[in-house]
Symmetry: C3
Subunit: 153 residues, 3 copies
């Protein structure tokens, strides 16, 4: 099964690839590595999921927001590289959760993205190293931002 | 136009390259990659810009602080590598803003650094991937800290 | 002196290598590079150091927590790669401190890890680039989380 075939089986819809909110590239290829800028949770209609995890968004909504960030990263990959099949494996994910000081379940939230990647590229190639941490704030009031590093085939 | 020529045209002054505040190297070369430690905004007289963005510093002051971080990164590059011309392109920037939970304009702030890099190395090579995020706090009370990854010629 | 010999001289005890709290690998090898996921401070009995730096943990306790994160990273390296001697040098460390907005001594805290790495791999190879920053919160209420990038021999 290819990554595109795995993704098709999930029955999920990719949001439009977001345009940069500042002076940066959404994706950059350096040899066999692909760097993805920090992405937020773009909905299928192009709007953003907003709110703080543990306040406006409970844990389940936060995890779904992280999955939506994952879908947004996939959209940028497909838009810029043509196919999810270009990616060989996930190397690194930095998952950033906007939440208050007493929030503790960052890994659970970011699993929303990581489980999506594992479903698309498989348990071995779809899972890389990761940090899941709590930010003081995120751009535009989004609940989750994720940047990632992939290896090309 | 070379990076040094582009920089000269801007009429900006590089601050002194900062000495490490802890046990780390300001810059490390690994093959054709150059890693820069997180840098703060050093003024031309060696002092630091201090304060929190959205409180002591308004948005314009915050963006100027990010540009000053960019100048400080350039100073470390020139001091350690001899010339800005050694850099081929920007690969990755992590822009960290010290601000309260309701701050939303992190990309605008970090553009202060990214626009400088684009002016020095050009729109294609001077712009890489980026995350711009809000930190709970930063060392010594600085408003912006930026780490970066470059490719050498 | 090898890294293992240097470590033995320190008289410190490695905690058990932590199992992932989410969907990620603790360590990933990519060619001659080794990526380490964000690690927390695991005690020798497998429990975690908890609390916020500047509140439950004063500066000295925070620095010791960062050293304990360093020991936990060493434990993952030895468990996954067989020996600390597999590592040639430290390339990059991202040190994240859980603390309130007025905390300023992040570099001092993260030195707890960096000084350990310098003692194990030497002042030149054991010290890389670094950012030391303040997070709004960290998983499970840990005071320090550190991710790192190493080069293999």
């Amino acid at each position: 099964m290819t990554a595109e075939e795995n993704f098709a089986k999930l029955g999920l819809v990719l949001p439009p690839a977001p345009k940069p909110l500042g002076v940066y590239k959404p994706l950059l290829v350096d040899g066999r590595l692909v760097y993805l800028s920090g992405h937020g949770p773009v909905n299928a209609d192009g709007t953003l999921i907003l709110g703080r995890v543990g306040k406006e968004l409970d844990e389940e909504a936060g995890k779904l927001a992280a999955r939506q960030v994952g879908l947004t990263l996939l959209s940028t990959i497909r838009t810029q590289l043509g196919s999810l099949d270009r990616i060989k494996r996930v190397i690194k994910v930095l998952g950033m959760v906007s939440c208050d000081a007493d929030f503790e379940k960052h890994p659970y939230i970011i699993n929303g993205c990581s489980e999506l990647f594992a479903a698309v590229w498989g348990v071995d190639n779809g899972i890389g190293v990761r940090s899941a941490v709590g930010m003081g704030s995120l751009p535009g009031g989004i609940p989750v931002e994720i940047e990632a590093l992939f290896e090309l085939h």
